[in-house]
């Protein structure tokens, strides 16, 4: 996966997004909300718990 630098923009409008988050980091629903507001279609939201 290409590293996205801070100053670059990722165009999400019209894209399909899988929001995979982590409970002790950024949970899936928070990622999904950001992606939706950026114009993406969130097709799956999941949160992982690594403990």
């Amino acid at each position: 996966m290409r590293r996205v630098e801070r100053e670059e923009h990722m165009e999400l409008r019209g894209k399909k997004v899988i929001a995979l988050g982590e409970r002790d980091g950024v949970p899936g629903p928070a990622l999904a909300e950001c992606a939706t507001r950026a114009g993406a279609e969130v097709v799956l939201t999941l949160t992982a718990c690594y403990v």
Partner: protein, 486 residues
């Protein structure tokens, strides 16, 4: 009913049972190693003996023998720097050896489903009968006689019993299913539930054996917050482990119930215990939980990859006595409970505000009024080799960032905040156990005979794992020095 009053934390116990032979029965090892004929052979080079587990610094912190600040100053990796003079018993509990624990399992099995090898049962009975807390004189059920190796084989081959193999490959025993056609009563599930009951029962007996402890007969309500789903095919997870443990421990006037909220269960249970005492409904409430056999060896692949011991080789249990204000014990602040509500949102800043800023502000306090925060205390030596990161450190840094946002500290002070108000993780990855509770014994000492004035405990639960909601959960509680004893 009594008039009620301020609830206090009167006593805490924290116990471990070292069970290397059961590591292969953890959920992850079972799934990963199912292709192997002898998973125990694969695991053996990475399984520790009891001496190593006892001298393992995180385990010594867990039972209260090693202070968290001394622990933070110790060299790493901890598995290569044994604690000199480590002992089995500590101020909060003990680290029980496996053979003794097998005897405890059998003594907790009221349906004779766990059969132990005759020699194993004999040795376990002799050792357990001499135990200072759950010895023969404690009034517990006896360790039943063992059975022949031939009978164990017959149970395994003809009755689908789960074999228990020792680290050396010998057959230690077998767990029969509780029903022919019930997936919730298989030998594996019942062993998980029995391990939970046994570790919780051990913790409760430790609690009741303390000098000045509440009398068995005065415990009126027990809340179990372990995560095991005890039930049958018609009511999976029906419960009630609390009552089963109270019965085993001889609390004849107690009743109880189970509280479930994944790893956040203990915080909910403590809050409810405080409410029961505060309302005057019950004067003496015990919150307890046993360990999770399913989580043994959860990160074992990372440990094998890094040529280190599988440090997830212990089951854990705890018990907490919540009672009316005695003028000495630390107070459980019921006016400042932090809640992650349905509408709180899931963004990290929203979560920490709900769990820290809001309840502290309600009490007229800030983050800087809390001497020590206890949160997810998972041992990073268990999680980092598997790529799961340092969970406590990440959470402490998030908390310190909140202090920056609230202009309580400068950005450059984040590390100092984490070092002085946090601690390194030392808990086995036993889910609900690791969620803040392991520091409670240390906090109780610090808030009575030590220098602490106020501590804060925060549990989080991964509700989304059950696939009924995308939400996580969280509760925070403030435990502070008793003003009457200050």
């Amino acid at each position: 009913m009594s008039p009620g009053g301020t609830p206090v934390i009167r006593a805490v116990s924290l116990v471990l049972a070292h069970v290397p032979s059961l590591v292969r029965l953890g959920s992850k090892p079972l799934r990963v190693l199912r292709e192997l004929d002898e998973p125990i052979d694969y695991l053996r080079p990475h399984l520790r003996d009891w001496d190593a587990a006892c001298a393992y610094a995180p385990n010594q912190v867990f039972i209260g023998n090693l202070d968290v600040d001394d622990f933070a100053a110790r060299p790493t990796p901890w598995h290569r720097h044994a604690v000199a003079g480590a002992t089995r018993f500590g101020p909060d509990g003990e680290i029980m050896p496996e053979e003794e624990f097998l005897g405890l399992l059998a003594a907790c099995d009221g349906f004779d489903l766990l059969g132990l090898d005759r020699d194993v049962a004999g040795r376990a009975r002799a050792a357990l009968d001499a135990h200072p807390v759950v010895g023969r004189g404690s009034g517990r059920p006896a360790v039943p006689d063992g059975v022949s190796a031939a009978l164990l084989q017959e149970r395994i081959e003809r009755h689908r019993a789960l074999p228990l193999l020792g680290v050396d490959g010998r057959l230690l025993g077998a767990m029969l299913p509780g029903h022919d056609e019930d997936d919730t009563l298989t030998g594996q599930v019942l062993l998980e539930n029995l391990a939970c009951k046994a570790t919780a029962a051990l913790a409760l007996r430790h609690l009741l054996a303390r000098p000045g402890a509440v009398d068995d007969a005065d415990v009126r309500y027990v809340i179990n917050c372990g995560e095991e789903a005890v039930g049958d095919r018609y009511q999976r997870g029906g419960g009630n482990v609390a009552k089963a443990v109270a019965e085993w421990a001889g609390c004849l006037r107690a009743t109880g119930s189970d509280v479930k909220a994944f790893c956040c269960g203990p915080m909910h249970a403590l809050m409810l215990a405080g409410a029961l005492v505060g309302s005057g409904l019950h004067d003496d409430v015990v919150v307890l939980a046993g360990g999770s056999l399913a989580k043994l060896g959860m990160k074992f692949q990372g440990h094998v990859k890094h040529a280190m011991p599988v440090v997830e080789d212990v089951l854990a249990g705890f018990a907490v006595h919540v009672t009316r204000d005695d003028g000495v014990s630390p107070v459980l602040r019921m006016d400042a409970v932090g809640r992650h509500e349905v509408g709180s949102g899931s963004a990290p800043l929203a979560v920490v505000k709900a769990l820290y800023s809001e309840p502290l502000a309600r009490a007229g306090l800030t983050l800087l009024d809390v001497d020590r925060f206890s949160l997810e205390l998972h041992n990073p030596e268990a999680t980092e080799p598997a790529g799961s990161g340092n969970v406590p450190l990440n959470n402490y840094r998030t908390l310190a960032s909140l202090a920056v946002v609230e202009k309580l500290i400068a950005r450059e002070q984040i590390d100092e905040f984490v070092r002085t108000r946090g601690m390194p993780g030392f808990s086995p990855t036993q889910g609900h156990i690791a969620s803040a509770i392991p520091y409670l014994g240390h906090a109780r000492r610090g808030l009575t005979t030590g220098r602490l004035a106020r501590t804060m405990f925060t549990g989080k639960g991964s509700l989304f794992l059950g696939r009924m909601t995308q939400l996580s959960d969280g509760i925070s509680l403030i435990v502070e020095r008793n003003a009457a004893g200050a």
